[in-house]
């Protein structure tokens, strides 16, 4: 627990010592991790694989951009983004929570693709040309905002472990029917969980646009942003507080290293690694015996 403030302090002063590129890399990494952590609320604790996290990210980004261009002064578009993402979560809850398991996953994935098509075809979102906002160098501000959100995301999952709300979600995961007989209004909890998991991605999307000054449907609703966060969660370990974080860091660093060392076959190597993980580390890195051993040693050391 002591490590945490130290790490945060290091991250905060980093931009002053380290090349621009690394800050950008970290920011993208943290955005993915935020998506992975918030995915885990539904995916890990509640047992519903939600492949539509990118919906909130994209909606947040686009609403932010559109309201900013409409002329609303700065803090407001961020609030609009947050509101839109949450509203979207509520709207999705009603039709989609009638589905379970595999079907829920496919349904949310289909919805994410639909959002892509909508963004691609509407004039107000700029269509295939994407959305430009006024340009300026805002990397540092966005970076700090994203760090805040990351801390909040991890904190939420940490609290979820220990709260009654989290307990309710876990009971839904174990056996939804039984949970209902114990008096848990499953739908209410599911809806609340979805709204909770939509807030941070929505804000992250807004800050993403704030930095890049340009988004296109592919950047915020594309296959990458839809599938990579759940993969990170799987990789690190779903249902664990630091699981998505670990998975995210490992995945991004491995990809970066691979990419710089192997010009052409980095994706293939990534594929091989996923196969290995699937075969040996299925519970996620954090659940593998080796990791638990190392983690135990570290904890003893710190104490």
């Amino acid at each position: 627990m002591l490590i945490l403030p130290v790490v945060i302090a290091v991250l905060v002063v980093l931009p002053y010592f380290v090349p621009h590129y690394i800050v950008a890399f970290l920011m993208l990494l943290f955005i993915y991790v935020i998506l992975a952590q918030s995915y885990d609320i539904l995916g890990g604790y509640m047992g519903y694989v939600n492949l539509g996290q990118s919906i909130f990210f994209g909606v947040g980004a686009y609403i932010f951009g559109i309201t900013l261009k409409m002329g609303f002064p700065v803090p407001l578009p961020f609030l609009f983004a947050l509101g839109a993402a949450a509203a979207m979560a509520v709207a999705i809850s009603f039709p989609f929570f009638r589905l379970r398991g595999f079907y829920f996953a496919i349904g949310t994935f289909a919805l994410a693709n639909l959002m892509f098509l909508i963004a691609y075809n509407l004039v107000i979102t700029g269509g295939p040309h994407g959305l430009f906002i006024e340009m300026a160098n805002r990397l540092t501000i966005s970076y700090y905002a994203i760090i805040c959100f990351l801390v909040i995301a991890i904190f939420i999952n940490y609290k979820l472990e220990r709260s009654k709300f989290g307990l309710a979600l876990k009971s839904i995961r174990e056996d939804e029917e039984v949970a209902q007989t114990f008096g848990i209004n499953a739908f209410r909890f599911k809806c609340k969980a979805l709204v909770l998991s939509s807030c941070l991605p929505g804000l992250a999307g807004a800050f993403y646009l704030w930095w890049t000054c340009y988004i296109s449907p592919e950047m915020v609703f594309g296959i990458d942003i839809t599938l990579i966060p759940p993969t990170m969660a799987f990789l690190g370990g779903t249902g664990l507080v630091a699981g998505p974080l670990v998975g995210g860091v490992v995945l991004m660093f491995v990809e970066e290293v691979l990419w710089t060392k192997m010009a052409y076959l980095h994706r293939a190597t990534l594929g091989f690694m996923l196969v290995l993980v699937g075969m040996f580390l299925v519970g996620g890195i954090m659940r593998s015996k080796r990791f638990i051993g190392i983690w135990g040693l570290l904890k003893k050391y710190v104490k």
């Binding site: 039709p95 989609f96 009638r98 589905l99 379970r100 398991g101 595999f102 079907y103 496919i106 349904g107 994935f109 289909a110 919805l111 693709n113 639909l114 098509l117 075809n121 296959i223 993969t231 799987f234 990789l235 052409y264 076959l265 980095h266 994706r267 293939a268 190597t269 990534l270 594929g271 091989f272 690694m273 996923l274 196969v275 290995l276 993980v277 699937g278 075969m279 299925v282 519970g283």
Partner: protein, 292 residues
């Protein structure tokens, strides 16, 4: 006018036939082993590449090469199952689902990247064409008709296999009720092996048609797999007839939508249908009980 609509309808059915062929393999694999083969699209590409390779050696009707594709991909499918799937197949369902997604997705990435690296990342198409049949004002593409014939033949053969032979019935048993099948002593492992073999062969044949009628490129695996997924969910997981009907429906719907509303919204058609089915009857048109 009638001629036009007939043409569009026929076009839709022919397209649907090819879609159904592509989806069939995925359905068989999923039904038996409960593994969603994310690399299915890449198997289709591999089938297409093999066809292209042989077509460059011998310029005949590509269908001839099915003779080579069938044994090669049967063995390939077996190998894939034995090496990559068997080790993870006996885990608890949760873990197995995750593991299979990771493993097959990993394979898909690896295959598409390796292909892109070795063949130069261009798109490929087989430049073989057959004159089309003209009936009144309606032209029917012979190649696509052939694909439809093939899938009907395949469907009939598979149907016979699943109804009449012992192994076939065993596969059906596993698909419909895994626990019961286990209880009566069905060798699930062997069924799984077979399903991967059959599924891979079906994918390869679909690939043959893809490369001849359309084009293929190394990165189309995942989008293609997603389309097949849409079809088998529409038709009902684990149901052969469902995949057929699903494929035909989607092809038909896309064609009609293209004619009346505009080609613009074609991909949306499949998505809308999928979401509608999920909300109304998630098990699909012919969903098999217990196949969740």
């Amino acid at each position: 006018m009638l001629g036009e609509i007939t043409q569009v309808a026929i076009g839709g059915v022919l397209l649907g036939g090819i879609y159904a062929l592509a989806a069939l393999g995925l359905s068989v694999i999923f039904g038996v082993s409960k593994v969603l083969n994310a690399a299915h699209g890449d198997f289709i590409i591999l089938g297409g590449i093999t066809t292209y390779f042989f077509f460059n050696l011998l310029e005949v009707n590509p269908l001839v090469f099915a003779v080579i594709l069938i044994p090669v991909f049967l063995i390939g499918g077996f190998a894939f199952e034995r090496v990559l799937i068997r080790p993870i197949a006996d885990k608890p369902l949760d873990e197995m689902v995750r593991a299979s997604i990771l493993v097959t997705f990993g394979v898909s990435l690896a295959v598409s990247d390796l292909l892109a690296f070795t063949w130069g990342r261009d798109i490929i198409g087989v430049t073989y064409s057959m004159p089309s049949i003209s009936i009144a004002e309606v032209s029917v593409s012979t190649l696509r008709l052939l694909a439809l014939v093939v899938i009907v033949v395949v469907a009939v053969v598979l149907h016979g296999f699943f109804r009449k032979t012992y192994t076939g019935r065993a596969i059906r048993a596993v698909t419909e009720d895994r626990e019961a099948a286990l209880l009566i002593g069905t060798n699930i492992s062997k069924m799984r092996l077979l399903s991967f073999g059959i599924g891979s062969v079906l994918a390869a044949i679909a690939g043959l048609f893809f490369v001849t009628i359309f084009t293929i490129d190394p990165y189309m695996g995942i989008p293609l797999m997603l389309k097949c997924l849409t079809i088998i969910i529409l038709g009902g997981l684990g149901s052969l007839l469902g995949s057929l009907v699903g494929g035909l429906t989607i092809g038909f719907a896309e064609s009609i939508c293209s004619y009346y509303i505009g080609a613009h919204w074609s991909p949306a058609t499949a998505l809308f249908i999928l979401i509608l089915i999920l909300l109304i009857k998630p098990t699909g048109l012919f969903g098999v009980r217990g196949a969740k």
